[in-house]
């Protein structure tokens, strides 16, 4: 059942800058949806419009069956977690947590009970008397989460809550958010520019670029079936490789006459120039010169990653990355042949960038 619906929601700032072009999105109750995109893509603006911190200049927002487009944040029943925590610096953790309860007139006896409850749930009980500045970044964000949780809102909004934390805290807090969200079944809209974070947390990922939604889907769908070059490149670490080629009746033909793949084109296929997309893990690196299929390239960089290597190779100005076993070594400057696995090949239109 749709809980949150965005209908052609747009934002144009007073100076004429268009931040969001008209976004349509339906979020089910209890769903964890991640807005993913590079900075400036409009994801935070979209989130802030849902919160009511930013006024939509077009379209409508429906929350729990009610149009809330022009309502202030206080009438939307949302909890918001800010990137920079936004804890009240002069109040103790206890008073920070009690603030939303005090604001809606919960009697102090019940306030105390609920503060203790939520503090225990997020693991900040022993920090209740501390001031925010005495806490580490991770703990501050825990308190901020607890504050967003305490009034038991029906929608959680999170604006890059892990963005400023270091890697270890990031991972544990990310898992914690995930767990809390699953336990409370709170509908959640989460903004990030980190695609790994998006993959790890989301039920569905919304990829945005330049104020528009480019693709909505499960993490697997976004990763395996990107609908455009932008999504294909933005998602995955590193992103997808792109190789210009020509589709002929015999297969995918490269500029130097070699083939990237040999197969018989289906009768419905349009023949002509295409962009071939291959993820690094679908590229095999071969040193066998007799290899008929594949791209000839020179090794330029070998990045050791622990359980694998990322091999960067140059094919006449085209930079490609292959993910290979950690045990496989190639000298810098060596000639190699990059052979794509048929299963991993995606085709894109060379002009529009749309998936074919």
């Amino acid at each position: 059942m749709t809980f949150l619906a965005l209908n052609a929601v747009a934002k144009t700032y007073a100076d004429g800058t268009i931040a969001v072009h008209g976004v349509d999105l339906a979020v089910d109750e209890g769903e964890f949806v991640v807005l993913l995109g590079p900075s400036g893509c409009g994801k935070t603006t979209t989130l802030r419009m849902v919160a009511g911190l930013e006024r939509a200049t077009g379209g409508s927002i429906q929350l729990a069956g009610k149009i809330v487009t022009d309502l202030p944040p206080s009438q939307r029943d949302v909890g918001f977690v800010f990137q920079f925590y936004a804890l009240y610096p002069h109040l103790t953790v206890r008073d920070n947590l009690a603030f939303p309860l005090e604001a809606v007139g919960v009697p102090w006896r019940e306030r105390a009970v609920r503060v203790n409850e939520v503090a225990a749930a997020v693991g900040v009980t022993e920090l209740l008397s501390a001031l925010p500045r005495q806490l580490s970044g991770g703990d501050q964000q825990r308190v901020s989460l607890a504050r967003a949780l305490i009034r038991r809102p029906r929608l959680w909004l999170m604006d890059e809550p892990l963005g400023t934390l270091d890697a270890a805290v990031r991972a544990s807090l990310g898992a914690f958010i995930h767990e809390q969200q699953r336990r409370h079944r709170v509908t959640t809209l989460f903004v990030t520019h980190d695609q790994e974070e998006a993959m790890q947390l989301a039920d569905r990922v919304v990829v945005m670029e330049a104020g528009r939604i480019r693709q909505v889907g499960t993490p697997t769908a976004i990763h395996d079936a990107p609908r455009s070059r932008f999504v294909a490149h933005f998602v995955g670490s590193p992103g997808m490789n792109f190789i210009p080629a020509t589709r002929t009746a015999q297969g995918l033909c490269l500029a130097d006459g070699r083939h990237l793949m040999i197969h018989n084109a289906a009768s419905t296929d349009v023949l002509g120039p295409v962009i071939v997309g291959v993820r690094p893990q679908w590229l095999q690196v071969s040193t066998d010169e007799s290899e008929k299929v594949g791209l000839v390239a020179t090794v330029v960089l070998d990045e050791y990653q622990g359980d694998h290597r990322l091999l960067h190779a140059d094919a006449e100005g085209l930079r490609l990355v292959a993910r290979i076993p950690a045990t496989q070594r190639h000298a810098l400057g060596a000639r190699v042949i990059l052979v794509p696995h048929a299963e991993g090949i995606r085709l894109f239109d060379p002009h529009s960038g749309a998936a074919l």
Partner: protein, 292 residues
């Protein structure tokens, strides 16, 4: 070697301090135990007689009362007015810079000139204020400069006019330093406007406002020029400690007695200065690490 070089840098300042601060301080304390006169001539040690006179002098007690009353009322009104104006001006609108510049002019002008200027406005018969009150239907407008109950009020009014803009400026700085996302968080938390003001705006501005009030208070305790210009130094209803000192030393030419008065004032001011320093230190520790 390094130590000697260090001293070379410190000595000029040290000499300056000794000549212009320490020496006059000691000499004025010493003077307080003599019956020196302004015209010079012979003098004698009189022991603690000057000091016992100070504490038994009703004019001294009255001057302390007047000074404290003036300080408390003027600073409180300036603080309140400045903060309220700051709340009104703390947003962007056309002509904001022009308005702020205009408001700051009184602060830049010499108080003696301001006092004389306001005398014209306050004048009982042809002053603008009373002309307006008269035109407004008030048949017997208040005599600002002669009514003993109103004279101090007139001095306070001019001081408020001069110094409220200072409080406004400090308040604006305080309001501007509160991060915008705290207000957004409060909005999400459903706080009413009154709660936001009471629980966020006011407490976060308070340290700065307190500091400004203390600074203004140390200045107001020395009130001299406005009183001199508006009523003269020897008016029972407006005589402050500074004008009393002036009266004793320059009009009555009793330097020894005046020095004793000054010593007692000094003790009061030092007490307040310690208060300011402590408040400053507390504020600094309270604000440490509050940058985010």
């Amino acid at each position: 070697m390094r130590h000697r070089l260090g001293w070379a840098f410190v000595i000029p300042t040290l000499l300056f301090l000794i000549i212009f601060n320490v020496f006059p301080l000691i000499s004025s304390v010493v003077l307080g135990f003599t019956n020196s006169e302004l015209t010079g001539g012979s003098w004698e040690w009189v022991g603690g007689r000057n000091f016992s006179r100070v504490f038994n002098d009703p004019k001294y007690a009255a001057a302390v009362r007047t000074t404290v009353l003036f300080t408390v009322v003027a600073v409180a009104v300036e603080l309140a007015l400045g903060f309220i104006l700051a709340l009104a001006l703390h947003r962007d609108f056309r002509g904001k810079t022009a308005i702020l510049t205009l408001l700051l002019i009184p602060m830049m002008l010499p108080p003696a000139v301001m006092g004389i200027y306001w005398n014209f406005l306050f004048d009982g018969d042809y002053g603008v204020i009373n002309q307006v009150l008269h035109a407004g239907g008030l048949l017997a407008p208040p005599q600002w400069r002669t009514d003993p109950g109103l004279k101090l009020l007139a001095v306070v009014a001019v001081d408020v006019w001069m110094w409220s803009p200072f409080m406004l400026l400090i308040s604006l700085a305080g309001l501007g330093s509160i991060p915008k996302h705290l207000y957004e968080a409060a909005e999400i938390d459903r706080a009413s406007r009154w709660m936001v003001f009471r629980r966020i705006t006011l407490p976060l501005c308070a340290p700065l406002l307190g500091l400004a009030a203390l600074l203004r208070a140390t200045d107001a305790l020395k009130q001299f020029d406005l009183v001199m210009a508006i009523t003269g130094p020897n008016d029972a209803s407006t005589q402050t400690l500074s004008t009393l000192l002036y009266q004793v030393i320059f009009s009555n030419q009793r330097v020894g007695l005046g020095a004793a008065y000054a010593c007692v004032v000094l003790v009061l001011v030092i007490a307040l200065a310690i208060g300011v320093t402590r408040a400053l230190a507390r504020m600094r520790s309270a604000n440490a690490g509050q940058a985010v």
